[in-house]
């Protein structure tokens, strides 16, 4: 989706990619609202700055909508901003959709089934799974420090100072854990060479496989089409 959005230009194509490639699957997965929220949170600051900079400062803009002092909002700028935002929507939507619909466990198992090294999938998978554990550890350390009289509430400056004694224990504690984790993993045969047994793999329908191949085929097709100027009619 991301590649498709970048390869096509104009207004129509990225809008199509967003609707067909991102929104339609999201509707099927009943994830539209979470998707919209995630994509918005991900891109809002960027989107606002793209809109402002392009509308107000587009070089060579002729049709002026309004002007305040040296700043002139132009139609050309607005058009370019909308084009860029549609691409951004397609890209952030595709990425958010991937994260919302793919449990890390299933991704790891499937990658391993397809021959990716278990060590590599472990690193990715464990990293994703460790984030909630780190958050919990941080909460526990904050609670312990407050129980011993550390002031972490009040003015922003006080809160900021309250963060410092947290960083040490959270980071050092996690690093200290690593040694014992490594030993435990070794003791359970994780470093044994050769294939591991996999107990299950995610359901993979013919439709899903066809969709993956289609997406893969669309990208070179778009590259060719773009190179020969076949997409120019889209504006």
């Amino acid at each position: 989706m991301t590649a498709a959005a970048l390869l096509t230009g104009g207004l129509l194509a990225p809008a199509l990619v967003t609707v067909v490639g991102v929104l339609a699957p999201a509707v099927v997965a009943r994830n539209v609202w979470r998707l919209a929220r995630t994509a918005l949170l991900l891109t809002l600051p960027l989107a606002v700055s793209i809109l402002l900079v392009n509308v107000l400062f587009f070089p060579g803009g002729q049709e002026v909508i309004f002007a305040v002092g040296p700043v002139r909002a132009t139609v050309e700028g607005l058009r370019f901003a909308i084009e860029t935002l549609l691409r951004l929507a397609a890209i952030s939507g595709a990425i958010s959709l991937f994260y919302l619909t793919t449990p890390p466990g299933e991704l790891a198992v499937d990658l391993e089934r397809r021959g990716v090294s278990p060590r590599l999938t472990f690193i990715v998978h464990a990293a994703v799974q460790t984030v909630p554990a780190m958050v919990e550890r941080a909460a526990a350390i904050t609670a312990a420090q407050r129980a011993r009289g550390l002031d972490t509430e009040g003015s922003p400056w006080k809160r900021l100072r309250g963060l410092l004694p947290l960083a040490g224990p959270v980071l050092l504690g996690s690093i200290a854990d690593v040694e014992e984790r490594t030993m435990a993993l070794e003791a359970r045969g994780f470093t044994r060479p050769g294939r591991r047994t996999l107990l299950w793999h995610p359901a993979d329908s013919g439709g899903q496989a066809a969709a993956r191949w289609l997406m893969l085929a669309v990208v070179p097709a778009l590259v060719v089409a773009r190179a020969f100027g076949l997409l120019d009619w889209m504006g």
């Binding site: 799974q129 854990d177 030993m183 435990a184 070794e186 994780f190 470093t191 044994r192 294939r195 047994t197």
Partner: protein, 272 residues
């Protein structure tokens, strides 16, 4: 038989060895309790016995570690897995970190061994049954209490079916019921011919499960023998280990000059 022969081991960067000239053997079908005060060298003894020191943690080792008579020095770590199992005291760090359910967590070791799928399932289910954690099987292992996690990591070890098992304080976070379950599972494993070494401060548990006891102090083995003899040894308390409750009770009764019949009755009551 898992045996250490005059082993001296020093951690990388340490000035003094953490084990000095230690010779100890864990025989097949035996549950050997390793006890002693904190920092005495119990955990180090475990790490050396199961091969993690010096393979994973570095340091220097002299002497020999023998696995069924074979010197383990040239063997890589993964060749020892399945022969020697090692359990650590902090359950949270023993979770694989990639299993979404307790079932997958227990299956992690057998999966790593590349066993046939049916055998992985059979081992996983029998290990889960042995520690009666069936109700937890579908839960996320990271969301369990420390004691529950300890049972889960123990099940993960049992599923590896090692011929030798080295456990560092396997019941540290367990309630009395969980402690009994682990004790019973170890007993069954020993009956099938496994050799088991358990470090433990709870001498009451050792009195119940250990056939032999090794006391470590200041990096040396200072006391060794049949469990009943070592636990009743007056020197035990000098090494920072409290005698089991029945023995302390008997000593207190003797010190208070109770009549002989009263002591016998106390002993009977304490044994119940």
């Amino acid at each position: 038989m898992l045996a250490l022969e005059s082993v001296t081991y020093r951690y990388a960067g340490a000035t003094r060895p953490s084990l000095r000239d230690v010779s100890v053997a864990f025989g097949d079908g035996e549950v050997v309790g390793v006890t002693g005060r904190s920092e005495a060298g119990k955990t180090t003894l475990c790490l050396v016995a199961c091969g993690i020191a010096p393979r994973t943690v570095g340091g220097t080792l002299t002497g020999r570690v023998l696995l069924d008579g074979e010197d383990t020095a040239p063997l890589p770590m993964h060749a020892l897995v399945g022969r020697v199992g090692m359990g650590f005291s902090r359950p949270a760090t023993q979770l694989s970190g990639v299993a979404g359910t307790v079932y997958e967590e227990v299956a992690f070791g057998p999966m790593n061994l590349g066993l046939p799928r049916a055998e992985v399932i059979e081992r996983t289910e029998s290990a889960i049954a042995a520690l009666r954690i069936e109700p937890l099987a579908a839960r996320d292992p990271r969301r369990l209490s420390g004691g529950q996690q300890q049972l889960v990591s123990m099940a993960g070890l049992l599923a590896l079916r090692p011929a030798h098992l080295v456990l560092d304080e396997p019941t540290a976070q367990l309630d009395p019921a969980g402690t009994r379950l682990v004790g019973a599972a170890l007993g069954r494993l020993a009956e099938r011919g496994a050799s088991i070494a358990v470090t433990e401060q709870k001498t009451d548990l050792l009195a119940a499960i250990a056939t032999r006891i090794v006391v470590v102090d200041e990096a040396r083995v200072v006391l060794e023998g049949p469990a009943a003899d070592v636990l009743a040894d007056p020197a035990l308390e000098g090494f920072g280990v409290a005698a089991p409750a029945p023995i302390r009770l008997e000593r207190a009764a003797a010190a208070a000059d109770l009549p002989a019949g009263a002591i016998a009755r106390l002993r009977e009551a304490a044994a119940k």
